[in-house]
Amino acid sequence: MSAESGQLRGRTAEAFLHNPALGPLGALVVAVIVFGATTSTFLTVDNLSLVVQQSLVVGTLALGQTLIVLTGGIDLANAAIMVLGTMLFARLVTEGSAPVLALMAGFVICALLGGVSGGLVTWLNLPPFIVTLGMLTVVLAVGRLYSQGSSWPVTDSMLNALGEGGYLFGQIKVTHGMTLAVVMFAITWYALTKTGWGRHVYALGNDPEAARLTGIHVGRTRFSVYLIAGVIYAFAAWQALGRIPNADPNAFQTGNLDSITAVVIGGTSLFGGRGSVGGTVVGALIVAVLRSGLTQAGIDSLYQDVATGVLVIAAVAFDQLARRRSR
């Protein structure tokens, strides 16, 4: 009995130690503690809520990116697709569509674009980097054309709902956007770890040839990942309008790199097949926390950049060193 529970504890500890998001999670906790101790303003309910809100859009983009990276791919177009999504929502509503229809149209187009990338990657067997790079240039240009050179403010309550609405959880302000993000991450986590589809996604990224030989629906699974990612980008677009009720063709130029960064900091391998959604949450939060905390500490933004760069490397290095010792 006690030996068994000991073994169980051993197993939990081991699974925990094998989780590559561990170092970054540690770093996140350390950063929160340090900023909490050194500034009076960081560890306030207000500020914590803000930090989460600031990472919502990139976090949602990173969720879709995680799926694609797990299959061994990469998506360079996610932020561009999202921006196009915001443009669609905003312009359609401004031109008189019902908000629900505008939302649906945006979701369909984003899914379609994801699906086109997925189709090219899956059935023409093209490198994801090239496909999504082409997609990026095309979607950016289309977004600019569609915007007619200006940004489109949005005042519809449905489109802004994610940022404006919300409720208090204890003292913390929880926006609908935060709730939605939690739900989306939870569903994706469930799908990836508790369903056959999720296992196929991992297998696919881990060794595509083995996955094919085992008789997995390799093509269908890969395609579904890009399609679902497209839908997730539409959610990111909705989140973006919640944060900023204005669709701007210029916005989120670093959104794509930021999303890949969140994925990779979270311990997901760019070679595919290894990683987790939980890691991505940590990755998305860590950058926002550093940015916020360093500002509270009164550090100029250029020095913030230096510190952020060093800290990100340090977080991952710490993880590696700890692992090496334990091996």
């Binding site: 050179g149 900023i244 210029n250 500002t295």
Partner: protein
Amino acid sequence: KTKSGSDDAGDKSGPVKIGLVTKTDTNPYFVKLRESAKAAAEAKGATVIAVAGKFDGDNEGQVAAIENLVQQGVKGILITPSNSTGILGALKQAKEKGILVIALDTETDPKDAVDATYATNNTTAGELEGKYVKATLGQTAPRLLMMDGSPGGTVDEQRHRGFLQGMGLKDGDPAILGAAPTNGDQNKAQSAMENLLQRDSSVNAVYTLNEPAARGAVAALTAKGLAGKVAVGSIDGGCQGVADVKAGKYLATVMQFPRKMAEQGIDAVVAFSKDGTKPNGFQDTGAQLITDKPLPGLDSKDTTWGAQNCWG
């Protein structure tokens, strides 16, 4: 000197070709510039080839664009230089080929690197914003947050400097509580302002480099319950910006006139292609303070005028 393999510009018949090189394709301001130029050119029977850098600061992209336009055989090039010194070599080569080169929006350094400049004086624009914010504060000592563009950008620096002049402050003054680069992006501006406010919310004045940055800053201020208590100024004069001022989101903006720049530039090239007359010097296309709360001693127009004259 190398021999040109292509025909010299002007040898070909057909409409006058004019190259337009903007900083980016994305910024509504440059989109307006491009549309105005196209419209003006069409009216005069000329065609415009519009090319752009990939981002603000893409000197290499602009140089390649100029080179390709020169090869194409354009009569004149209108350019908004991404950097006042970065592209002089390419401009010089264009001029040597007998092409009329006009800077729009942003000056080159030295100014005679181009035949003429049609631009807003960005220092003046910044100064107008600064003076207005200072006047709004009245006797209250300023406590200022600054939403800058990207470090090292020419226009960004000029507006920043002009604003401080207008406020009567210097960089490093303790009245400046903080500053953050926003790249003129609303999202970045909002996050930056949120974080700065978390540190210190005793702010009473905000400089914003352009209207998207202003919108981001105001959103953060509103969330903090500071809307209306802080004097926020901006620059650009986009239609959305004017509407924002009208709606009272921020107090004032300084309008630029890209359409004027474009039209005057096109006119100059067309004239040059007809009889070889070259314009010269710096032509200020003006900067106009737009606000619904005029203050004594500051020339301003209201948002109704603004809505008629705005761009984008």
